[in-house]
Subunit: 388 residues, 2 copies
Amino acid sequence: MQSIGPSGSPVPSGSSHLLRTINERAALYHLLENDTLTRVELRKLTGLAKPTASQVMLRLLESGLAITLGRTTAKQVGPRAEVYSVNADYAYAAAVTLREPDGVTVAIGDLKSQERASSTRRIDFTKVSPDLAVPDMLRRTAEDAGIGLERIAAVHIAVPGAYDAETDTIGFADLPGIPDVRMRAAVEAAVECPVAIHNDVNAAAVAERRNPAVSGGHVMLWLGREGIGAGIDLKQGLVVGLRGAAGELGHVPAFPDRTTPDDPTYQDWIGAPAVIAIGREHGITGPDAPAVLAEAVKQGAEAVLDAYASRVAGALRMLTHLFDPPKLVLGGEIARAGGEVLVAHIRTHTGEFGDRVLPSAVYGDAVAIGVLDLAYADLKDRVLDAAL
Amino acid sequence: MQSIGPSGSPVPSGSSHLLRTINERAALYHLLENDTLTRVELRKLTGLAKPTASQVMLRLLESGLAITLGRTTAKQVGPRAEVYSVNADYAYAAAVTLREPDGVTVAIGDLKSQERASSTRRIDFTKVSPDLAVPDMLRRTAEDAGIGLERIAAVHIAVPGAYDAETDTIGFADLPGIPDVRMRAAVEAAVECPVAIHNDVNAAAVAERRNPAVSGGHVMLWLGREGIGAGIDLKQGLVVGLRGAAGELGHVPAFPDRTTPDDPTYQDWIGAPAVIAIGREHGITGPDAPAVLAEAVKQGAEAVLDAYASRVAGALRMLTHLFDPPKLVLGGEIARAGGEVLVAHIRTHTGEFGDRVLPSAVYGDAVAIGVLDLAYADLKDRVLDAAL
DNA sequence: CTAATAGTTAGATAGGATGACTAACTATAA
DNA sequence: TTATAGTTAGTCATCCTATCTAACTATTAG
């Protein structure tokens, strides 16, 4: 199927120099994809002639983008082929996750997508401003791993709010002080490399790309301990919107005839308040919404699960009619607490769309994983684009 | 800002032949963009050397893609430069609009985006199946304009429903018989060129790209005489969804606690039924919803306009929170009947998003214009991609 | 006639493909 | 154990293609 994008992109022109660049880019691309390559494998992938492949590799070695790892251990007749790889230490990507109340998590990975250092610190953002805390954590984490800050070529940050790239501000934020911070400017000044900031739910949606079942795109409905939201990751890529506020489902009034600020939103209708209220109606309580739902699952309280599932299914139906995504993924602490049981209940309420609904397959911290994946992808793109 | 798309696309490699292709494509691209070019202008656009530009043009002339239009009328010293242009007759694009009750509209345009032939016929789809009517109309329209069917290289069709490209079926259709038709297969068999089918509201959204105010992307809320829907045209392109059902706002239940098939949907809440009901409450009637709203505007019935505007604003708020589009465009017969007055009322109800709301700036048949624009763009892409 | 511009021709240059060649290595058999 | 055949990795020399530069011719206004 043809893409239905905006009108055709500008078409470049060039001379032999462009050709060399193209072939170097191609080789580098395959090196990035394959983690280790011999010249013969490179020839098969690129279709280049033997001497050309040799020259291209030579230039990549000279520029420091590639390194030799030794030779193949002979299992066939003939000499052993030289084994090449991307120079993992050519550049690094940093991923940062900002959270309330967990503070800041930083992870630094190399060009081969290997995590090289990470650290987490609880930070009281009412005392330490995040635009100071984040550069400081980046500096320390890099230093501890023996990585020079100047070799970090991409920093990606996940924040619990809507990041507006144009004004460098964060809206709808659940973090104290955040709206007044110019995060990108602050971090770019400290690290001197491009900084991108993402919504945390969008990052979690990106992490879900690791699940092969969602390869065609998906909408992630995030049912978090604090807030809810939708991460919209279609085949065209993430939908972030003009002000980074796409997918802010929690702020949509639930009932179109009651739209004053005091009237219920989807946050009230399917978020933590709803779980706690439904639980209480049926005599199930807990310290927070995930705990309530976990208890309901444990007790087999079908009525609670069904009442909540029915509401979630309503939201999923709306998202399906608006985005028609191949998959609808349920993420966040509440969804995790509900587990497969909750998903099964939701499926019965979504009818024809039921087979599109699935729980998140990402283990661990989806937001941190997603923002690291975004950082890796960006780093690779930048290295490819810079390859001259 | 970097795009946040799926992982990097495969990178090509090649030899000098690739270089020639690249430069030919670049020249052709500029010819398509500029409608008439001299060799000197081409050199400025591509950066190619004089002899190279000459050779590239020679090949484009030989392949029939370009033609000479004569020479510049001398206004400066020196010889007159030869003027080139794309060969408008190299290939044609056809646009088809299917509607109830207007039947079928066909327009055929050339590679220079000039409309060359068009025709409209009322067809009773309960008697003539659209998969027979459309090829027949295409054949006749082409024949009348002296255009060979075999030179039509792209056919795009707008239908009032959700086109599922995978199964070649049309869902949510407002047209009799349509769900059982394999439209693309039928037309492709008759015309022997790629056929693409679009939702009519999406086509109208594409037409709105002609309005420079929406250059950053927009969501079109279509308030039609029959049905409503949203056309989602973001900077990444049209969002069509897995089954072509994205933006089917009319089928979203308006109230999340009432979701049986009999309960009100957004079609009931902001579509024609709502206009007629609100009008009747205030003593304004008419043959259809646009007429009611036009009458309300004429009478200055603020209460009617305000009640309806408040509902529409609610839908726009939902769309804004979910898509965060740079612009929200109001289209369709009801919106047109409401005019600027309705837009002003809606703006007062949308608060902070009010400045994003604007009426459609497309005069005439937005659906037909949009599907023709899609056909032109596709034709150009195909010609560029085929240029070897 | 002069200056400026359009376009061509000739030669140089860069990058890649081809095919022959060398070197390294395994397997096999005397 | 040694010689040999066969296979594979990588290089070298040569040719091909497409571009660029620079010089040249032709055309036109003043």
